[in-house]
């Protein structure tokens, strides 16, 4: 047996052991529970689950794009030479990060959107979520940018790079690699945070599961598919970023 094949076999074995241990804990816990399982009434609502799941995917993709754009804009504004722009970004980030998302959603929908005559609750929902997540992303990007050493900026200036060229060729490639792991975490949170949009009657995954629960009074059966559905969205995000990380890594 050659060494790489052996190490793969050993790793696979350990993975299975870890998985089995976790499964045993859960199996024990569920076994202890004096609960009668009724899956048939839940199965009748499968279209409802699917519809909610698709809405959550759509909300997540839209907010993911929106929050990346907002996060980048906020991060660059904070480093801008226009002082007012920097302060505006700083105040926004602190306000958003310091207040609960639930309150932001309610204020955006019932106060701000009402004042600006925006009536579509899905538009308001995606915007709120993008701004909320964007504030966190801007801090992640800023940390990535600031991780690039000053000597490199001096070197870039020495070889005659403009500010834009320095960002494009020196800062952003390295900042991206630093930012990827926390970004993956943030995007996964974003998917789960979209469940809070149910408070303004957006018919997403969690709301649909809660609805099924209030029709059937079967909480565990209604919420377990919810866990699986969210996992099916967040797992590809972490695996995808890990792959991206391996693509962007290089010797320093």
């Amino acid at each position: 047996m050659n060494p790489t094949a052996q190490s793969i076999a050993v790793r696979a074995l350990h993975f299975v052991v870890a998985l089995a241990l976790l499964a045993a804990v859960f199996a024990f816990a569920f076994h202890q529970l004096a609960y009668e399982w009724h899956w048939a009434p839940i199965f009748k609502y499968r279209d409802k689950f699917l519809h909610g799941w698709l809405v959550t995917i759509a909300l997540s993709i839209a907010s993911l794009a929106g929050s990346t754009a907002i996060g980048l804009a906020l991060a660059l504004s904070r480093r801008s030479r226009v002082l007012a722009l920097g302060y505006a970004a700083k105040i926004t980030v602190e306000l958003i990060r310091g207040t609960p998302l639930l309150v932001q959603i309610l204020i955006f929908f019932y106060v701000i959107a009402e004042a600006f005559r925006v009536t579509d609750r899905y538009v308001v929902g995606v915007t709120t979520l993008s701004i909320f997540s964007g504030a966190y992303i801007s801090e992640i990007i800023r940390a990535g940018i600031e991780s690039v050493g000053k000597s490199q900026l001096d070197a870039a200036r020495a070889v005659g790079f403009t500010r834009a060229q320095t960002y494009r060729h020196v800062i952003l490639p390295q900042a991206l690699r630093q930012a990827l792991p926390p970004l993956a975490g943030q995007f996964a949170s974003l998917v789960k945070d979209s469940s809070l949009l149910s408070v303004i009657a957006i018919s997403e995954f969690t709301l649909n599961a809660q609805e099924v629960n209030s029709y059937t009074y079967l909480p565990l059966e209604s919420y377990l598919p919810l866990a699986l559905g969210y996992l099916a969205l967040t797992l590809p995000i972490s695996l995808g970023t890990r792959w991206l990380e391996s693509r962007t890594s290089y010797e320093t």
Binding site: F28, Q32, A34, Y35, L106, Y110, E114, T119, S198, V199, I200, A201, S203, L207, Q210, E211, N213, S214, Y215, Y217, P219
Partner: protein
């Protein structure tokens, strides 16, 4: 060998299950978000019609009472998993709920009514169910169940909080909010400029105390208590203490009062 902790855990669970049930605390579940029935005073302790009712029940059963605050749609699961012993939370005894839990004799009669927007053109439930109309309901309430079963053309907005439903109507985002008569009245009193109450009940509802299906002995005791409480004027006293304003408004409009 490695089974030992599991066996210990099992023994503890069994021992807890076999503990004598006599002077034990009666845990009553309710959502403290429905004044004046279930609410909290300034210091945060529970008060209201249902709290007084629970205390009176505990007195008659000679058991101390603990009030457990829980979200309304978590009450039935809590009861079924043994976290609480009774539900006294302005809960309507519906056939759907009766499939899953047992109900005492009803102690209060009310009906579903509408809180309509001031500018909305609806006059009753009949002209609410049209294309382009929007109805707000609170998740898990009988208004929610009624809307999903009976309204087919109107759009149903499902919200978590009563306050959000009222706000949707007040801002004209929804045409009406389906809720019980007393709540409709109360919300209109707080939003006289933007809403109007349509108090005519289009569906009668009776509130009852919820119990686990196998708790037959407790059910008999609760029903005996309710009968006695009524004949000794207990509900009359509760009405006068907590619902004086509503009572006057109901009598003024010629609608029978709830107790």
């Amino acid at each position: 060998m490695c089974l030992r902790p599991f066996i210990f855990a099992l023994l503890i669970v069994l021992a807890a299950g076999c503990a004598p049930r006599g002077k034990e605390t009666l845990v009553v579940g309710m959502e403290l978000a429905y004044p004046p029935f279930e609410m909290t005073d300034e210091s945060g302790s529970p008060e209201g019609v249902s709290v007084d009712l629970a205390r009176a029940l505990g007195e008659s059963l000679h058991r101390p009472v603990t009030i457990q605050n829980s979200a309304f749609d978590g009450l039935i699961p809590s009861l079924k998993t043994g976290k609480i012993d009774l539900i006294i939370s302005s809960m309507t005894a519906t056939p759907e709920r009766a499939e899953s839990i047992a109900f005492s004799d009803p102690y209060l009669t009310t009906g579903l009514a509408l809180l309509a927007g001031a500018k909305s053109e609806i006059h009753g439930i009949a002209d609410l169910d049209r294309e382009g109309r929007t109805v707000a309901v609170k998740k898990g309430t009988t208004g929610h169940i009624f809307a999903t079963q009976n309204l087919h053309a109107a759009r149903i907005l499902l919200l978590d909080k009563e306050g959000a439903c009222v706000l949707e109507v007040a801002q004209g985002k929804a045409d009406a909010f389906i809720y019980d008569q007393m709540s409709v009245l109360k919300n209109w009193e707080q939003n006289r400029q933007t809403t109007r109450p349509l108090l005519e009940a289009f569906r009668k509802e009776q509130w009852a105390i919820g119990l686990r299906k196998q708790d037959d002995a407790l059910l008999v005791k609760v029903n005996t208590f309710l009968k006695e409480f009524r004949t000794t004027g207990g509900f009359e006293r509760l009405g006068n203490r907590w619902l004086r304003g509503q009572k006057a408004a109901f009598i003024e409009r010629g609608i029978p009062f709830v107790f």
